[in-house]
């Protein structure tokens, strides 16, 4: 077939170019599976503890909504599937859709694909290459997932079905993204459309799993979970997923044959002929460029906080008969289980808000390397004002997200237990993390100013803090090491009482980093 000529060359090129990105995705997903499997095996040493955990989960619709359907919960395999099933499937879907859009529409939008297409390369080669690469990545994730589960002596059938469910959901969302990439000429809209379907899939199966399970059939993630790993091991739901994946892939191929290169099926809307009088400063520009990002981070944080808040009241019950889980939240908090849990959720919200701050500040660097900074700096705009516009947007955006998360957590939890005073208490607790969140914005500024080539290293630091937050207490990392993270060194309210010194210390480090970054930016060459 000449329309596929060059597919393997393009696939090789994509793997070569994105090898680090692919490796990180696979490693992250597999690490979550492995760590959860290991800790679950440790958490439930006896059948009695499993029975208690199963009963607790069954009696808690919120937990089922968050984690997954009620399948074989009185076995270790079933508990592992509960912990990593819905989350793992969601992440595999996210990975697949982002990678497909990156390799297809984003390449086309950048103009690079035009050069490739002028060579003896078939019309469908880039789409096919993207699906080959992503499909292979999904297969690797599935295979490693199965091996991780087998390494914990879980049953072979369930381990294989679970790994396979990761693969088919990955393929399904790869096919979906391949289709949305044909519809719009904007890669971010293409990822947004497919991501929206992914979020809806999670939500629909959450509603289903909390109730009778019927609604879950309508969700790709729910459908894959109907294969019931460790509790029946049915293959046909997976085959159904595979059929949908094939259908979506075929649709993408048909649509791509019907459109012009560079165009979408939907024509872009015209914009205003004149700029708003407010779009007149570097800060206004930064806000205009990043308002979408701020909005999405805030919505995500509020959604997470609402889910966590609605679970909070049943945490007591959930952990009542499980000493290990109780210990976990107690170690994080030290006070009551519920306050320990609330403190933990706020820690996660703060980590997410720090991710938002990083993403927004790092735009300074991409503006520079994308040569959009030069024309702005050629106007009477100093480098400090130019970068400062993005920094202020990051501080405001991440602060907004963090406060919104505290507010949403307080309102939902307060509504569940009928105590409005929780709102102020939890917003206050969230604010303790504000300097830690802003520290990440300042860290990015420091790297951009002093070591611009290492800007993305800030993400590695962030990843380290996320890992400490998720697993630091589970795998007994010494307190002295954990305190290196700005999220661990500050008091975890509402479980602990306020200590100002560490919070002020984190704030001081942030100020020093930001000042050093601006000074470096003023002195160095723009690249």
């Amino acid at each position: 077939m000449t329309s596929l000529t060059g597919t393997l060359h393009l696939a090789r090129m994509a793997v070569r170019r994105d090898r680090v990105r692919l490796l990180l995705w696979v490693a992250a997903i597999v690490a979550v599976v492995l760590l959860n499997a290991v800790s679950t095996v440790d958490l439930y040493p006896t059948q009695h503890s499993l029975d208690l955990a199963a009963a607790a989960a069954r009696g808690n619709p919120a937990a089922l909504a968050f984690n997954g359907p009620d399948v074989a919960l009185d076995t270790v395999g079933g508990q592992v599937a509960l912990q990593v099933g819905a989350i793992g499937l969601t992440f595999v879907g996210l990975m697949s859709l982002l990678l497909v859009v990156r390799l297809t529409r984003a390449e086309e939008d950048s103009g690079r694909l035009e050069l490739v297409r002028s060579m003896p390369v078939g019309r469908h080669a880039s789409l096919a290459a993207a699906l080959v690469v992503v499909g292979a990545t999904d297969a690797v994730v599935g295979l490693l997932t199965t091996l991780c589960l087998l390494s914990q002596d879980l049953p072979v059938g369930g381990s294989v079905v679970m790994g396979a469910s990761f693969v088919v959901v990955g393929l399904l969302f790869a096919g979906l993204a391949a289709t949305t990439a044909q519809v719009t000429e904007n890669p971010r809209v293409a990822s947004g459309l497919a991501g929206g379907v992914l979020a809806a899939s999670f939500l629909v199966r959450a509603i289903g799993d909390a109730g009778s399970g019927a609604a879950s059939w309508a969700s790709p993630i729910g459908l894959a979970q109907k294969s019931r790993p460790f509790g029946g091991d049915a293959v046909w739901p997976l085959l159904l997923c595979l059929a949908f994946a094939a259908l979506l892939t075929a649709a993408a191929a048909v649509l791509s044959a019907r459109r012009d290169f560079g165009a979408g099926l939907v024509a872009p809307q015209p914009g205003p002929a004149h700029g708003s009088a407010r779009l007149a400063t570097p800060l206004a520009l930064a806000f205009r460029l990043q308002r979408g990002a701020v909005l999405w981070w805030t919505i995500s944080l509020v959604a997470m906080a609402v889910a966590w808040g609605s679970l909070a009241n049943s945490i007591d019950e959930f952990t009542k008969d499980n000493q290990s889980l109780e210990d976990m939240f107690k170690r994080l908090g030290g006070a009551g289980i519920t306050d320990g849990y609330l403190a933990t959720t706020l820690l996660f919200a703060a980590l997410v808000a720090a991710g938002a701050a990083l993403q927004i500040v790092i735009r300074v660097r991409t503006e520079e390397t994308g040569r959009r900074g030069d024309p702005v700096l050629a106007t009477p705009t100093s480098r400090a004002r130019w970068a400062g516009g993005h920094l202020v947007t990051a501080l405001a955006g991440s602060g907004l997200g963090l406060i919104a998360a505290g507010l949403a957590l307080g309102i939902t939890y307060g509504a569940v237990i009928g105590d409005p005073s929780q709102v102020g208490r939890l917003v206050g607790a969230a604010l303790v993390y504000l300097p830690s969140v802003w520290l990440f914005a300042a860290l990015a500024v420091a790297l951009i100013g002093l070591a611009p080539g290492w800007t993305n290293g800030a993400w590695a630091v962030w990843g380290g803090c996320v890992a400490l937050g998720l697993f630091g207490t589970l795998i007994d990392v010494p307190k002295a090491v954990r305190d290196l993270s700005p999220f661990e060194v500050v008091p975890t309210l509402p479980a602990e009482s306020m200590r100002w010194l560490p919070v002020a210390g984190v704030g001081l480090v942030a100020v020093v980093l930001a000042v050093a970054g601006f000074e470096g930016l003023r002195r160095r060459d723009m690249s």
Binding site: P270, P272, A280, D374, T379, P380, T381
Partner: protein
């Protein structure tokens, strides 16, 4: 009065020496052509002039100030069009033009609308959907709509069609008539010939020639083709005559432009029936200065 001057500029990026003692002087009110092959250091020079890069050595003065130290104040008085125009995909062309006008603080809506009309730009399109030529128009309109006394243009027309090139040349003539200064880096020699009072030619980060186009032409050869009644006598002994070919009544040769007069006298003694004399084009100037670029890079 000089609008900008650079002396002995040196800039290295790791092992590459992008600028190697470059000199550039632009007089106030001139349209100054800045010529050089790809990678000669034109964009690096411009980025030093804008204060985006700090020169490793050499003196730079721009509008009487130091472009590195006084960047913000100097930028009130200049406008810039980058060679590779990258815009924000979400913003429309009109929004982008107005943003630059407002960042500069001298947005003139009337002038801006007139330029949008003249360049036939659709300002409602998102920058994502603009072609290279249209992105360039956005940057050009933003710069030309300003009241800046110095325009720094880095290959501003490489994506424009011939009609728009004509509009661009008109605009630059208007700018010159207003007494403003233009530094025009370009590859398009016809454009430089049509617009520029003076040119500087650079290669491998150094200036190889600078002056008016006329003075540069004197350094090169004029090619002559004549038809004479009798074969010319003594032409081959004249100083500065090269490549003489006489084929019955057809005479062809190149002559150093300073030695043109004696050669023509010799021809007229032989009885000129027809004479075509071709002055050196900028292309020839260009080739003369770059012709040995290949050899030079072999040595390096």
């Amino acid at each position: 009065m000089t609008a900008l001057s650079a002396t002995g500029l040196v800039k290295t990026f790791g092992p590459t020496r992008a600028l190697d003692g470059l000199d550039l002087v632009v007089a106030t009110g001139d349209v100054h052509g800045f010529l050089g092959p790809n990678g000669a250091g034109k964009t690096t020079t411009i980025r030093v002039l804008l204060g985006l890069l700090k020169a490793d050595a050499g003196e730079v003065s721009l509008l009487g100030g130091d472009p590195w130290k006084d960047a913000v104040t100097l930028h009130r008085r200049l406008a810039y069009v980058p060679g590779d125009v990258n815009l924000w995909p979400k913003l429309s062309g009109g929004e982008t033009i107005d943003l630059f006008g407002r960042l500069r603080g001298d947005l003139d809506p009337k002038r801006r609308d007139e330029l949008v009309e003249r360049f036939e730009l659709d300002p409602t399109k998102r920058a994502r959907t603009y072609s290279k030529g249209n992105r360039q128009k956005v940057a050009l309109i933003a710069a030309l709509a300003s009241s800046a006394e110095l325009l720094i243009l880095d290959e501003p027309t490489s994506g424009l069609d011939p009609l728009m090139e004509e509009v661009f040349q008109e605009c630059i003539r208007e700018v010159r008539a207003e007494g403003r200064t233009v530094l025009l880096s370009s590859h398009i020699l016809a454009e430089v010939e049509a617009l520029c009072d003076r040119v500087s030619i650079i290669r491998n980060g150094t200036t190889v020639a600078s002056g008016t186009l006329d003075s540069m032409r004197e350094l090169t050869r004029t090619s002559v083709h004549a038809e004479t009644e009798r074969p010319p006598v003594g032409l081959d002994r004249l100083e500065g005559v090269h490549g003489l070919r006489v084929d019955r009544d057809q005479v062809r040769f190149d002559v150093d432009t300073v030695h043109l007069a004696p050669a023509i006298r010799c021809l007229s003694e032989a009885g000129i029936r027809m004479l075509v004399s071709t002055p050196p084009t900028l292309e020839e100037l260009f080739l003369r200065h770059y012709g040995d670029a290949v050899d030079a890079s072999d040595d390096a």
